[in-house]
Subunit: 151 residues, 4 copies
């Protein structure tokens, strides 16, 4: 497999085989070792405040964490010479979120939500990504910063 | 209604009428204006990593946010002289998470998870709470800090 | 005074009359209610690690906090109709940092450091700013996010 | 040298040979691999707000960062079998702050400030510490969380 194929496999696996991503409807639409994009659509069950009808803050945090995590995963893959399945699995098993800051800027209202992540620190042990979430009208809903273990 | 009854109503409403809390099975077991406790049990659908079988980081963030939010809500109530429904609803409508930091310390494994929050800043406009999550064996899984708009 | 004159006064006061800003040599070079820029030059006394010869993390945090604080101050001023000295002083007395996250990306090396802040949430009670610090070669040294009380 | 002697050497070096710690008057009073204490006294030059006469937020962040950093350093030392100077220096050269969150709870007023740090994650690559700052009257002034590279 080449790198592009590996990325595609990861996107498919994380979108379709991770129970919580499926529950929330989080879809990895594109990613490489520099940036990523996650999309999900409004669902009643994601409501955190039934009076105001807005997303639960945890939904936003989940989407930001995934967007940052997938770009951190791409950093791990990008550093590998050997793209055999064993090496990839072993390398990705080291991935984990160390900490995540979420800044809630506007109420989580919209029909579709787009989260983008961009790597700002790419090391052999730790990667840091910054994330943004907008709705389909382009309104900024949240920002975030995530620190990930990658090696 | 006295304050204790108001707190009980909030706990019931947030546990049973907030769709995302219900989806995750988050239950408010106790809270006042100083501290709170949230509990939830392991479910397959909360898995964020099917190989390691651990909670999605977003589940942890959701539970921490709720624990901090409910103690912030109790602060709002505690400052009210008039506990009529109109005043309570109007006051609680100002509640919102400004930012949330989650520190993931250990893999999210266990049968039951217990989140506790403690208020560390109690102002008329902004409240800050610190949270901890343990599993039923007492293992520390996560820490967090949340800043909430309360006025 | 018009708004531009008020901003100039604040820049002069914060640069020349705040003891700790003077100690570190932090200079406000430009700011309005959307963004700000702070500059300071390398000094031996700012070293946090004498073996590696790099800035103390607290120096970086100080500069980021000032950059975010000044753009939050401009937000306060921008919301005022009356720019009399009494109103300005009373309004600015509400300004305070609620929390600050600093991400250290690269060792703090360089001859001059440039910090920029950009407002990402502008409310009547709370403002949030994102900051970046580069050296004179354009190397990213740090990122940050600050939450400020403004009303 | 035994571990206790190594800790004493680090405390002396960081207190007396780090220019910025000296400038601020930060003194490491006690530390091991579980917790640490830093103290410093009020000085005019640490003022960040000459009208309110309170500490600059950057002073607080500097003290929290040092308290967390020194307990992270102790974790590095604690994992070593060989306490020769070469091994210690090489191991400590890996130490660095990845990110730091500071929560400012009360105005920084007092005659003396006491910062304590406690390790909450102790890994071979990354350590996380939580910090608190009080004044001599026991008033909580700030909380913080720091993530440190240790390997």
């Amino acid at each position: 497999m080449n790198q592009k194929q590996v990325f595609q496999q990861i996107a498919e696996f994380w979108t379709n085989k991770m129970p919580f991503n499926q529950l929330l409807g989080l879809k990895i639409t594109t990613f490489d070792h520099v940036q990523s994009e996650i999309r999900f659509v409004w669902q009643e069950q994601l409501i955190g405040n039934p009076i105001q009808n807005i997303l639960h803050g945890g939904v936003t945090a989940s989407a930001l964490d995934l967007a940052g995590g997938v770009v951190a995963a791409a950093n791990i893959i990008d550093a590998l010479d050997d793209l055999s399945e064993t090496v990839i699995q072993q390398s990705l098993s080291k991935l984990g979120t160390i900490d995540l800051r979420t800044d809630f800027l506007r109420p989580g209202r919209g029909e579709e939500f787009i989260v983008t992540a961009r790597i700002i620190r790419s090391g052999s042990k730790v990667a840091v990504a910054r994330m943004e979430m907008h709705n389909e009208k382009g309104e900024h809903i949240a920002f975030g910063t995530g620190t990930y273990m990658v090696g």
